[in-house]
């Protein structure tokens, strides 16, 4: 059932994304899509994979801002994903020495703090371009989990003792089931899902607003010709910094909600900082199409639809074990065959045919 929802989501989003279709058709598709997403928990038993897709989407929308619109390929946003999760957990934890804040305070607070951290880091790394920028951001991604484990700041006898658990698991309360109009809404199936949906909607909402704003144009101008943009009056430092911080904010938002659903956060929950998570946000945007409004949505749904399809076909054990390997292969395949994403078909620039993939493959040969 989840697969059906994901596939429908892909189709509806594609319709909404086509500039060629009439406005009424596109608006209609959006409405149906929204209804579908809201009604999803009612028609399926477990919404886990949808939750995963939606939070991944929010994070991908974040990457889209800096990597897609601005053209600065950050390989470090996963650091903000993880940091957001850990900070939120730290705030929400009821263990001694922690503030035990409710989730609707803890999560926004965490996102805010990560934004500030990103601003500081951004001012340093944004002085770089191209290869250098990408590697520096990769460095951020590698350094961040170590930073969280830093005994000096976060160990048992330090400034902020055991904020991140100090080597032991950080527990925090999950969402309780809710009572609405006499019905019990199971937290796992409904409430977490809607929280995830909210992050995705924030992601796409921010992107839509960005695309229409002066900042959005400035970012694309920077991507296309940074020197000319600057000569034309664009304050490139401010614009790039805003883009970077925005991307980190969305990463932290998705990450903290993802972390919230985990039962606890161990300092070894550095699975959050994994290469897979790092690449996932980039591949999602690539599959859909960089620098577009619907690209990340379509990309996320396609990725998770593939995952779901594989799972139902072959049994969860096999897939789970080989998931990372298959994902890495997917990255390579997408980069070679589909670097401009599916949007190139939706935008009418190319007619769909298998030959396009082959052409993409050899387009950049020596």
């Amino acid at each position: 059932m989840n697969l059906a929802i994901l596939l429908s989501g892909i189709v509806l989003a594609s319709v909404a994304a086509r500039p060629g279709s009439s406005t009424r058709l596109r608006r209609g598709a959006i409405v149906v899509l929204l209804l579908l997403m809201v009604a999803a928990p009612l028609v399926t038993n477990t919404t886990s994979i949808l939750f995963d897709a939606l939070t991944a989407m929010c994070i991908a929308y974040g990457w889209n801002v800096i990597g897609g619109y601005t053209g600065y390929a950050s390989f470090g946003n996963v650091a903000y994903l993880g940091l957001g999760a850990f900070i939120a957990a730290g705030f929400m934890s009821r263990q001694p020495g922690h503030l035990a804040l409710p989730w609707f305070v803890g999560i926004p607070l965490a996102v805010g703090i990560v934004s500030l951290v990103a601003l500081a880091i951004g001012l340093a790394v944004l002085r770089l371009r191209g290869h250098y920028f990408s590697i520096a951001t990769l460095g951020v991604a590698i350094a961040m989990p170590e930073f969280i484990n830093w005994d000096f700041a976060f160990g048992p006898h330090s400034v902020v003792p055991k904020f991140f658990g100090g080597g032991r698991p950080l527990n925090f309360p999950l969402l309780p089931d809710a009572q609405v109009a006499g019905l019990t809404l199971d937290a796992d199936r409904y409430l977490f899902y809607y929280l995830g949906l909210l992050t995705a909607l924030i992601g796409i909402g921010v992107t839509v607003m960005l695309g229409r704003s002066k900042l959005g144009y400035a970012l694309v101008a920077i991507r296309e010709n940074e020197e000319a943009a600057e000569t034309m009056g664009v304050n490139t430092t401010v614009a790039k910094s805003l883009a970077y911080v925005l991307s980190a904010t969305l990463a932290a938002l998705g990450g903290s909600v993802m972390g919230f659903k985990l039962t606890n956060m161990t300092t070894e929950a550095e699975a959050l900082f994994s290469i897979t998570n790092n690449l996932q946000m980039i591949i999602i945007v690539l599959i859909g199409g960089t620098g577009t409004v619907w690209g990340p949505w379509i990309g996320a749904f396609i990725l998770f639809a593939m995952q779901e399809a594989l799972r139902s076909l072959s049994g969860s054990d096999f897939v789970l074990q080989w998931q990372a390997v298959m994902f890495s292969l997917l990255v390579i395949v997408v980069v070679l065959f589909l670097p401009r994403g599916l949007m190139q078909f939706l935008r009418g620039r190319e007619r769909f045919s298998w030959r396009v993939f082959l052409r993409n493959l050899v387009a950049n040969r020596v």
């Binding site: 144009y217 400035a218 101008a221 296309e224 020197e227 600057e230 000569t231 034309m232 009056g233 664009v234």
Partner: protein, 256 residues
Amino acid sequence: MSAPITPPLLSIRDATRRFGGLFAVRDVSFDLAPGEILGLIGPNGAGKTTLVNLVTGTMRPTSGTIAFAGTVLNGMRPHRIGRMGIARTYQVVRPFANMSVRENVGVGAMYGAGGSTRSAREALRRADEVLELVHLASRRDDPAESLTIVGRKRLELARALAMEPRVLLLDEVMAGLRGTEMDEAIELIGTIHRLGIALVVIEHVMKVIVGVCDRVVVLDYGRKIAEGTPAEITVHPAVIEAYLGKRYAAAHARAD
């Protein structure tokens, strides 16, 4: 009866730019009056484009002063200089490829001198007006990369005009144009002049310089070697020597 002296719009004093041991621009001084059309010529490598880069802030002068309407520009970042009212076109034309023609010009309207009070939508509407001026209105929604070289040059001009500049530096606008295309470009320069914008025209095509410019500054190896009206500099011995070599200059001088 002499005309009242108006303060120069652009004032360049001993502008110098070094790259290690090489002087790309050396002790160059001249003024640009409001509404004037100034030609900037010289053999290849004379430092013309570098000089433009110094004015727009893309490069910092090693020494010397560049002032615009009284304000010193040295060390200012290019975007601030752009917003003050100085715009340029590039020798190698590169539009924002993945934006439409309209959006390309819109960026200029959003971030140029008049941009701070405009919304994105207002800027795009202003872009339409500018596109009319350069005869590109019919292509407004096309992707910029679909334009031919002539269209791209017009777009380059439109982008700069949308910034509402008081000074416009044109870097070899004529390169790659032929015959009627060149005449159209000259016509556009006239239109821009009538808008009251001061122009610095860098060109190799003497027909354009002679036909359009009020005054001409000549550079060679980074130094200014002559300044005057087009008629004056075409017979100036240093200019002839720079372009055609010592022997020709000597022969020419003897012939007078």
